[in-house]
């Protein structure tokens, strides 16, 4: 017995349907396959091309045993290439390989649907690396194309244009549902389980060590570090020191962070005016949270180290949003334990003798630590130091070579050398890295801080005052601090493309574009559990529980479903005006015993009326003719239906 439930999905895939599936797969797979390692990507690509060639030529599909071998080979190759069959990237590679193989055994419509499901699934893989508006648009286009292929599987031989149109309409109709779910579906802070190691690819950003050149390298990157929205007027550019890792240990070449202990509360008193702002931090896979010196509160799920750095409890893998308050004039650490100060004076033995000599000369002539600092800064100002991104390479005695030889350096050279000199003079000092400055986007008034704003400065400990920020770069190149890196660098130094001053005319456009990107990041990508709570709060649903949210979601969905339900039934009613009028005409005639018989066509009916009631012959024939034209003919123009309804209404049995 034939059963369509089985018969239909079991029907064969036609070459036309296969081509649709191939096109949809190609669109989904192309951006993914280029990112795979060549060992996997090239064979997969060959399989796709082979499948396309077979279908286009009408060739025979490979036998099942060959496919079984190919599956085994692909699985083994992926397991070897990634050293694991589990995880994000091997998973994506596996799905790609299976998709290619499925296209080679596309026999029934069910196989076709499986291909479509794989495509839908792989669209998610597109979003792992980038989540910009462009990728989003591409994914939506992918959904439309895959849906069109599914439509072709559902019914073979539909015209391409109608199929694409229907897919577009359906996707557009799905958008309201998406919006409701997107906004209201309770967001869960992931991950649900331990993520594989490859979950987050390496990102450029500050590191927890500093060697000459490390920050300079970063300065070539225009990539976003974080964005800041100030509650009031933003502070002056020279006060924007975004504190990051604090580097205390020095081995003669590399500065490293000391082992740190967390503070349970802010160890200083507020001073001056508080600056309130919200930071949107780009994921950098480190725990650091950046804040203006000195931060006045510890965000949720974060701690403060004994070096006054904010650390998230887990690495920042997703864009993080935290409100912050800073006291720009506060000072901290007046009662620093001797062990900490001792560590901040330690230098590797017997290195850089000329620098040490210079420091001890200052020590001897200065009245106190402040005097030493002043002499050092004066030295940097007086000597012909050059602030540049392309300093010469330094040798073993790096500090000596820099201070007395090359005298060309970037912020890390100056900060490192300054801290070295301070320590040599017995002043506790350490390097602080982070970002300095930023650029206000006038379009949305966000302050944008980029990797190119990465900076290193020094911090010295003064009795009675505690840790005090000294920025030797400011002594060499004041414009770096006042106006940003582009203004401070000599012409010809490499700079991120968009920061070059000759592209100033592009700036308004860039601001607009970046503001759009920011809005996207804030409200689409950055729509996290916290943002959702914030939004609910703004909508008057403080502490909204699951029931309230579920109720709101249910109500909205019900409204949308009834709207769509009305749409599903609506066209019928509109079309029915003609039929309704035709029935009304029959009802009028029934008073003369001349109701239309169910089988009677309009012409026959009119003839019967004419025979029974000759005076109505004319109008009845006219109405019947109009009805027949509306129903079975080419129609009578857009006003035809209305005209017919009007005439039926004005039809009278008696003149």
């Amino acid at each position: 017995m034939a059963n369509p439930r089985r018969a239909e999905p079991g029907a064969c895939v036609s070459p036309r349907q296969a081509i649709w599936l191939l096109a949809a797969s190609a669109a989904v797979v192309a951006p993914l396959i280029v990112k795979l390692p060549a060992v996997i990507g090239v064979p997969s690509g060959i399989l796709f091309v082979y499948a396309a060639w077979l279908w286009a030529r009408g060739g025979r599909l490979p036998p099942p045993w060959l496919l079984a071998i190919l599956v085994a080979v692909a699985t083994a190759a992926i397991a070897i290439a990634y050293r694991s069959a589990f995880g994000r990237e091997p998973g994506v590679a596996m799905l790609l390989a299976f998709l290619a193989l499925k296209l080679l055994e596309l026999r029934t419509r069910r196989d076709g649907f499986t291909v479509a499901l794989l495509c839908y699934f792989l669209l998610l893989a597109l979003l792992f690396d980038r989540q910009g508006p462009g990728v989003a648009a591409y994914a939506v286009a992918g959904v439309v194309l895959v849906t069109a292929a599914v439509l072709q599987i559902a019914r073979d031989g539909q015209p391409a244009r109608a199929t694409i149109e229907r897919a577009l309409v359906m996707t557009a109709q799905a958008v309201p549902f998406m919006l409701v779910f997107f906004v209201l579906f309770p967001r869960v802070q992931g991950p649900l389980w331990g993520l594989p190691k490859d979950a987050f690819s390496a990102m450029s950003g500050l590191s927890d060590t500093m060697t000459p050149g490390s920050i300079g390298e970063l300065s070539l990157s225009g990539a976003l570090a974080f964005r800041v929205k100030f509650a009031g007027a933003p502070p002056a550019q020279r006060d924007l020191y975004w504190r990051g890792p604090v580097l205390t240990r020095f081995d003669g070449r590399t500065w490293r962070a000391a082992r740190s202990t967390p503070h349970d509360r802010i160890p200083w008193e507020p001073a001056g005016k508080a600056v309130e702002y919200v930071v949107t931090l780009e994921p950098h896979n480190q725990r650091w949270l950046f804040a203006l010196e000195l931060p006045g509160l510890v965000p949720e799920a974060a701690v403060m180290t004994s070096e006054f750095q904010l650390l998230a409890r887990t690495p920042v893998h997703q864009r993080a949003l935290y409100p912050m308050r800073s006291w720009l004039e506060a000072s901290a650490g007046a009662a620093e334990p001797e062990a900490t100060l001792g560590e901040a004076r330690r230098l590797p033995a017997r290195s850089n003798p000329r620098s040490r000599m210079l420091a001890s000369r200052w020590r001897a002539t200065a009245a106190d630590d402040s005097g030493v600092i002043a002499q050092a800064l004066a030295h940097f100002r007086r000597e012909p130091f050059v602030y540049t991104l392309t300093p010469p390479v330094l040798g073993k005695e790096a500090i000596d070579e820099f201070l007395f030889g090359t005298r060309r350096g970037f912020c890390e050279h100056y900060a490192g050398a300054f801290v070295f000199l301070m320590r040599a003079a017995g002043v506790p000092a350490r390097v602080v890295t982070g970002y300095q400055g930023g650029e206000i986007n006038p379009v949305d008034s966000y302050l944008v801080v980029r990797q190119s704003d990465a900076h290193a400065w020094a911090e010295v400990w003064l009795a009675g005052r505690g840790w005090t920020r000294i920025d030797p770069t400011a002594a060499v190149a004041p414009s770096r601090i006042e106006r940003g890196i582009a203004a401070a660098l000599p012409a010809g130094d490499p700079l991120p493309f968009l920061m070059r001053s000759e592209l100033d005319w592009l700036r308004p456009l860039r601001f607009r574009w970046e503001a759009m990107g920011n809005a996207w990041d804030q409200w689409v990508i950055g729509y996290t559990a916290a943002r959702q709570r914030e939004l609910f709060g703004r909508l008057g649903m403080q502490d909204a529980d699951w029931r309230a949210i579920g109720g709101a979601m249910g109500a909205l969905l019900a409204v949308m479903l009834s709207a769509f339900g009305a749409w599903a039934l609506h066209e019928h009613a509109r079309q029915d005006a003609v039929a309704g009028a035709w029935s009304a005409f029959s009802r009028k005639m029934s008073r003369l015993g001349l109701a239309r018989r169910p089988h009677e066509g309009p012409t026959d009916y009119a003839r019967r009326i004419g025979a029974a009631a000759p005076r109505l012959a004319g109008p009845a024939a006219e109405l019947a003719g109009l009805y027949a034209q509306l129903r079975y003919g080419r129609g009578a123009g857009p006003g035809g239906s209305r005209e017919f309804v009007r005439r039926v209404r004005s039809f009278r049995l008696r003149p």
Binding site: R5, A7, F113, T171, M178, P191, I525, H572, Q575, A579
Partner: protein, 332 residues
Amino acid sequence: MTPTLALPAAPALARLRDFVDRWLFRLAGPEPAPIVLGQRRVFVLPTRAGLAFAATIVTLLIGSINYGLSLGYALTFLLAGLGVVSILHAFRNLVHLGIEYGRCDPVFCGGVARFPLVLSNRRAQARIALVLTPAVGEPAVVDVAGGASAVVALAVPARRRGWQRPGRIRIETTFPLGLVRAWSVIEPDMRCLVWPSPERNAPPIEAGQSPSDGTSAGAGGSDDFSGLRGHRPSDSPRHVAWKSAARGAALLTKLFAGGGGDTVWLDWDRLDAGLSAEARLSRLAAQVLRARDGGVRFGLRIPGVVLAPQSGAAHVEACLKALALHGESPAR
């Protein structure tokens, strides 16, 4: 007799089905035309593909949560919305479909009864991939263009003579995405006449069947020779032109002008006594056809029905109908 072709079910199950039929499908016996599938009788359920799609969405959601992909949520929800929209599209594809019945041509038992349904679409958009499945028989797939109608003839094997009904017909569609099935059940008030299947290699109409009791004036009709034609196995051996056969020519049958041709009676009672009722009907059907092909006037006499000798297609059909309905109450 209702041509119930469904499998016999346990009584409780049968009662439940009965209840479902009446309450859910609003089926209370065959329905007269026209039927319009109202929203009350169109049902929507996910297909197996729909369940796979749902599973994919759940997986996508878990992936999005796990990797914290906000756009992943958006993709997941867009696809979920697509699923919801496909429910409405499938429903819309079927709802308000008008169904009228065409004329069923009689068939012989063992053949295929065709029940033509006229599906009319009053909406401007086409209705695509409607599948009609009779309780027994092949499903038919049909598209109905916008504002037009389409005829689909459901083929149901004709397994017994008499009136045959198409039974319950499932109309369903999984279009557009195959994720959900919108369906309805109708039981059209249509019937197709199934003639008894003519016996193969039936013996020729015997001379003895020509009544000698004088009820027919032209009995035998052997008086006025009118010509010759090719011999057919059903022709009586008495009318073979033996003289010409003896000269070596092909067998020819002599035709006689006895009141418009040969007149025979096909008589139930004159068949072999050992034949069952159905076998008699089968043989009589074969003989009717033979008589038609022979161009002879014939009468039919079966218990309860006597049809006077006549010729012509209408008479043949009347005779076959009488055979088909033998033993059935005339109300049917």
